[in-house]
Amino acid sequence: MTDERISRLLQEATRLRYSRRQVLRRAVALGLSVPAVTAALDRSAIAAPGPRFGRAPAVLQGTKLTILAATYFVPAAQDFFVQQAQQWGQENNVEMTLDFVNWPDLQPKIGAAVQAKSGPDIVELWDTWPYLYYQSMVEVNDLANKLGEAQGGYFDWVVKTAAVDGEWYSIPTGNSTSAFAYRISYFQEAGAEEFPQTWEELFEVGKKLKAMGKPLGQALGHSPGDPPSFVYPYMWAYGAMEVAEDGKTVMFNQPEFVEGMKIFIQAWKDAFDETGLSWDDSVNNSAFLSDQISATLNGNSIYLAALKPEEEGGKPEIAEDMSHAGYPAGPAGRFNNLGSRSLGIMSYSGNVEGAKAFLEWWASEEQYQAWLEVYEGYIIPPTPKFIELPVYTEDPKLAPYAEVATYARNKGYAGPANQNAARVFAEYIIVDTFARAVQDGDAEAAIKWGADRLERIYGR
């Protein structure tokens, strides 16, 4: 029965000229076994197979594996990952359990597991976290290097954020990144035919947009996604950074940055929705989709949500009228903050071999590419191998997301994305510097406050 359904799907794919990605998405929607569909695809002329990684050794039979990860924005991609894991588990007789938690809840679970030396076998780590947990993780240099070499080498931002001083304790999986989602018609009405190229130009247009009742939207609350996506690149664009290359000398209180902050304080009043001080990662999405703001930095989740049919809460008219643009430049250049997430194996795991075998299978070109395709371009891959996939290029509105990876810096730049950078990130010091500045209107005092806090962390 299942074979018949797969066969019908392949006929449909041939007739309608589906891409490999479209076939896999249809497979998920129809509840078909994705690996079975992948195998059928490989036998058909629709898509060429990637290199196959070997089946796990028989010694794993009857073992268990638990994976802990953050929830996915694209539900189909989360379902797809579950299907991949379960299929691998069935083929190798390994009982798989997958747990997905809300983003802010991932770290408490990992922290408790590390302390208790008990819990999931494989965990998802965000950028800077490998430095926090590597002593409790299994070194996977062989596997990470093998995968990296097979896929054209890892991007620099991946090595700096997922490796620990060049050693791999987890397999990079890429990450979502931000670009400006903006309303084409509102920008045109405000006199901008194209998205502004510098921050100051953007703020000028923003003044007109706010006067039109459609301000720029930016979260400055304690939330791990959108606030850092703005404050780190803006700080770099105005010549400041957390530390110098030595990882100790704080380079935050720079005259150029003070000037940049003064410009931002004024722009916050003139061009932004000032309630952004209390926003978390979700508010700019709903503000944009409810037509309250004209532009905001975000992953492509707003666009993908808008593209849905109207009865499912989509906003096709907004999807039509919106586009994306890369980061504006400042006096010091154009920057973006990007670090890779990764999957690592806990050293307390009783099934390290099983975990390695699963990661090797899942990160293989065939499986990983299929996962990226179902993810609809939300995740930027860690190697150049996949960056030309149609999922990143076929919709020109999504092209900026792949481009912003080319001028990305890690948290903690110009030092490594180590435990100090993780602490600065976790304590929202850069975000709070900006929030204090717009609240008090005093750029010097806010930056001095931030510099003092950074000194306490980096200067030890």
């Binding site: 638990t66 953050a70 929830t71 996915y72 924005f73 694209v74 539900p75 989360q78 359990t97 747990d99 997905f100 938690v101 809300n102 983003w103 809840d105 408490p108 679970k109 922290g111 408790a112 597991a113 302390q115 208790a116 030396k117 008990s118 819990g119 999931p120 979502s176 996604g225 959108d226 990662d281 979700s282 999405n285 709903s286 989709l289 409810s290 037509d291 309250q292 975000n298 992953g299 989740s301 949500a305 109207e310 009865e311 499912e312 809460g313 906003k315």
Partner: protein, 283 residues
């Protein structure tokens, strides 16, 4: 013409009904908001031209999603098992602690009473890491016992403190009379003091039930894997996808999740108030 009566009516309206109405609106508004959002179609949720406080069309899709696409009933069962278990265990311990500290006079008793209360002030965010090690050593991870045994760390101190105060309000002569009549200390406690302390027990029980029902951090860290999720953990892990919130279903889960607590309160509200205010006017 009855001017005095009219004045009384107006003063009742201003001094009683108006403040009561304001309180009712203040307290019930979150439930009204949850109900409205849970019944709104997605198309209305982000439509700023519509009044957000009113329903223009009704859908049960969010409830359907909650029941069919998530394990809501399993979460409810888990929450019930854990909460009832932790409440019974905490009450049993708190009765003994409260009775001992409330009825006996012994050296260090006052200090112990204060220490029990101070234990309540230790935040779970400090305790969850060391407790994780305990859970791991006893191999309780992802079992009901993980929460049934850890919730009392914050339930027992406050419940003991509450009961200690309540036991002190019950006349000592009644117990002495029972002892003179030949009852043992346990019999006197069980047959004389406990029935009189019922309002206090109910207050402590409702307090434990509510805190256990809503607890998040321990439930996330010590259980929360596979199907072993409680309502607070399940809703945020399955109804928040990255930066997209399923507001309708989240509010539906909020409404349904608050029903058992509301029922518990409404059944025992009179006893609960009596328990909380006991000792307020006595030494």
């Amino acid at each position: 013409m009855n001017i005095v009566g009219e004045n009384r009516l107006w003063s009742r309206i201003w001094q009683f009904y108006v403040p009561l109405a304001l309180f009712a609106v203040f307290l019930l508004f979150p439930f009204y908001w949850m109900l409205v959002v849970s019944l709104k179609p997605n198309t209305d949720l982000f439509e700023t031209d519509l009044n957000p406080f009113l329903l223009y069309s009704v859908t049960l899709d969010h409830y359907r999603y909650l029941f069919e696409e998530t394990d809501f009933w399993t979460w409810t069962k888990n929450t019930m098992v854990v909460t009832v278990g932790a409440t019974i265990l905490s009450l049993a311990c708190s009765i003994l602690i409260g009775y001992a500290l409330g009825r006996y006079r012994f050296r260090g008793g006052t200090f112990l009473g204060a220490a029990v209360f101070l234990a309540y002030l230790v935040p779970p965010t400090l305790l969850f890491i060391p407790l994780a090690e305990v859970i791991s050593r006893f191999q309780l991870y992802n079992r009901y016992w993980a929460l049934i045994l850890t919730y009392p760390t914050f339930l027992i101190p406050f419940a003991s403190w509450l009961l200690m105060g309540y036991f002190r309000t019950i006349s000592r002569e009644l117990e002495d009379a029972a002892l003179v009549d030949g009852a043992s200390r346990i019999q006197a406690m069980w047959q004389i003091v406990m029935p009189l302390a019922l309002p206090g027990l109910l207050s402590a029980g409702i307090f434990c039930f509510t805190l256990g029902w809503n607890e998040f951090l321990y439930a996330l860290v010590f259980m929360g894997s596979g199907e072993m999720k409680t309502i607070p953990v399940g809703t945020v892990s399955d109804l928040i996808r990255a930066d997209v919130y399923f507001w309708g279903s989240l509010m539906a889960a909020g409404i349904l999740g608050s029903v058992p607590v509301a029922v518990a309160y409404s059944f025992f509200v009179d006893h609960y108030v009596a328990g909380l205010t006991a000792g307020a006017t006595k030494g």
